[in-house]
């Protein structure tokens, strides 16, 4: 009896569990990086430049995933890179969620001029080529962790705004909201206790998809050279570094690329799973 219940649980939630597993791995790597990574990510070893991964001829178990053009261990850099990517991803998601949800909340609930103004803002952002905006902002305000988080948040807030706006527009017409109004509940309390909790599940779904987008955006910015910079590599920086060595040291690009792809995939899988769970049709 127990076994079949477990199997049913696993079967229904496989997608989500896989996603969670990958994210958990990445998070663990990020948190315990100094202890897990075999080498320091910035340790240069010119005698061991461009060593291929251990399963390729010329590789060795000393550098499982190989080394880059400065002899730095790829595996260690990938593990440490998780810190940046996840930190930026997480920070941007939270910031983007707060900004976007608030915009969506007000636009959806108050309608009229407020909605018109905010929707215009959303559309402006959407039609503007983001990369240019990002480069401009980072060039003006300098790089650094906070700037990058803000810029990446700017990439994602629009998703929340649109989804939340739509959800709020349908929730505000629900009878329990009308009931609250007729009880005499003031508007700010209605927003906080009646509208927001009922759109929270959509926000979480958008967040998991956004996380993926955030990580990719950070990688792109680093790739373009306007990323965080500094000693600790991010996956995007690694991709940038590996650009010139695609022919003879493909692993310099492939490893951070796979790490990025897996994390993004994990975010999307979790998003899918949460979305299915949020949809009442799948519950029954």
């Amino acid at each position: 009896m127990r076994v079949s219940a477990l199997r049913m649980f696993l079967g229904r939630h496989t997608i989500g569990l896989i996603g969670l597993a990958i994210l958990a791995t990445a998070a663990t790597a990020a948190i315990f990086a100094p202890w897990i990574a075999p080498y320091s990510p910035t340790k240069v070893d010119l005698l061991a430049r461009l060593v291929p991964p251990f399963w390729v001829e010329g590789g060795s178990l000393k550098h499982i995933l190989g080394t880059d053009n400065l002899g730095r261990d790829i595996l260690s850099r990938v593990i440490h890179g998780a810190q940046i990517s996840l930190a930026v991803g997480g920070g941007a998601v939270v910031l983007g969620a707060i900004i976007g949800s608030l915009v969506g909340l007000f636009a959806g609930y108050f309608g009229g001029m407020v909605d018109a103004a905010l929707s215009f803002l959303i559309n402006v952002q959407l039609s503007f080529p983001f990369t240019l905006l990002a480069i401009f902002l980072l060039a003006t305000f300098g790089g650094g962790f906070l700037s990058v988080v803000v810029v990446v948040a700017l990439a994602t807030w629009v998703n929340y705004a649109r989804v939340v706006r739509g959800q709020v527009m349908s929730v505000k017409n629900q009878e329990y909201v009308e009931a609250a109004r007729s009880v005499g509940v003031p508007t700010r309390r209605i927003l906080w206790r009646y509208i927001l909790p009922n759109v929270l599940s959509s926000i979480i779904v958008v967040a998991s998809f956004s996380m993926a987008q955030a990580i990719l955006t950070e990688a792109a910015l680093s790739f373009l050279g306007v990323g965080i910079g500094g000693a600790t590599p991010s996956w995007g920086t690694m991709l940038n570094d590996g650009r010139n060595y695609l022919q003879n040291a493909w692993w310099m690009t492939a490893m951070p690329g796979i790490a990025t792809a897996l994390t993004v995939l994990a975010g999307n899988l979790c998003g899918d799973w949460l979305q299915d769970r949020a949809d009442p049709r799948f519950r029954k």
Binding site: Q174, S182, R193, Y194
Partner: protein
């Protein structure tokens, strides 16, 4: 009787639609949900409003609570004009008049515990301590026939009947002067309808409440209401005490409603009313009921009948009701 009525509405008209373009042209058709209604609700009574779809009974309930914008007319609550009340004044006035909705599955916030749903009116309108609130909420749960342990649970764990009890408890917890119940029984099973009706009655007695009870089930309200108002296409066509209406229905529409109601008595004949309800966008001229009325005369299609007293509390808007010089 010298107590002022709880609600007095005069010339109440509610129109929907009718958007005007920038050039002042009518871009959407106007629907008159309520048309020039005069109605009074006396303190301590249960006034039932019955009618079929499109008659405006729901709109009337909402309009009296200022939940729907009023196009024309005046509403006075306990003598005070609330027609143009807005903002904070209206919001805090709401503690005196509350609403119970039809669908128990939709009128409770799914993310709030039952306790919080019931505590909300108290938290918003009073500054009682949490201990005091707790006592009042639990007492109210009990008065509504629910177990006190339900307070910690969420709406989805309960059946329709139980949720409706919560909705009723929420409306009554502030002991409001006036409660509008909008078809509170319609979504419930037959056996539960009677239980909830008993709850309404017991709370009314306990807390001296005044009800406006909206329903499409005429038979149910006869035994429950003091007075009944019958509506058709935005107008009140007849009003009177429950017994007056039952024993001497004056308006042909009221008679049709009574005749059409199904009855378990095998001897009783069911009457039918032909035709369709006209579109509210284009109501019939004169008496709105004349297109379906078995007794329609020429004057009915040109002149709108006024509410005429028949005696006692009984009035009807029909050309067949001759004005009485003295009460019968």
């Amino acid at each position: 009787m010298t107590t002022a009525p709880i609600i007095r509405a005069e010339g109440l008209t509610v129109e929907f639609g009718g958007r005007r373009s920038l050039l002042g042209r009518q871009t959407a058709p106007v629907v008159q949900a309520l048309s020039n209604i005069d109605i009074t609700v006396e303190t301590g009574e249960t006034l039932a409003v019955v009618g079929e779809s499109g008659c405006g009974k729901s709109t009337l309930g909402r309009a009296l609570l200022r939940s729907t914008p009023i196009t024309r007319g005046r509403i006075a609550f306990k003598g005070q004009d609330i027609t143009t009340m807005e903002g904070e004044a209206l919001r805090s006035a709401r503690r005196h008049f509350q609403m119970i909705f039809q669908d128990p599955y939709a009128s409770l916030n799914p993310k709030m515990k039952i306790f919080d749903t019931l505590a909300e009116p108290l938290r918003v309108h009073t500054d009682e301590s949490s201990a005091a609130i707790r006592t009042r909420v639990l007492d109210m749960l009990e008065a509504a026939g629910l177990d006190r342990s339900f307070a910690e649970r969420y709406p989805h764990e309960f059946s329709g009947g139980q949720r409706q009890r919560v909705a009723i408890a929420r409306a009554a917890i502030l002991r409001p002067d006036f409660i509008v119940a909008d078809e509170p029984l319609s979504a419930l099973d037959v056996s539960l309808q009677l239980q909830i009706l008993k709850l309404f009655a017991s709370l009314k007695q306990q807390f001296s409440l005044t009800y406006l009870f909206i329903s499409h089930d005429l038979a149910r309200v006869f035994g429950f209401a003091d007075r009944i108002a019958v509506m058709y296409l935005g107008k009140v066509v007849e009003i009177g005490s429950a017994r007056e209406i039952y024993h001497a229905p004056a308006h042909p529409y009221t008679r049709a409603l009574i005749a059409a109601a199904p009855s378990p008595d095998p001897e009783r004949k069911t009457g039918t009313l032909g035709g369709e309800i006209p579109s509210p966008l284009n109501p019939p001229k004169g008496c709105r009921f004349h297109t379906r009325c078995p007794m329609a005369m020429d004057v009915c299609s040109t002149l709108e009948p006024q509410m005429t007293s028949i005696g006692g509390q009984h009035s009807a808007a029909c050309h067949w009701v001759a004005p009485q010089p003295t009460a019968v």
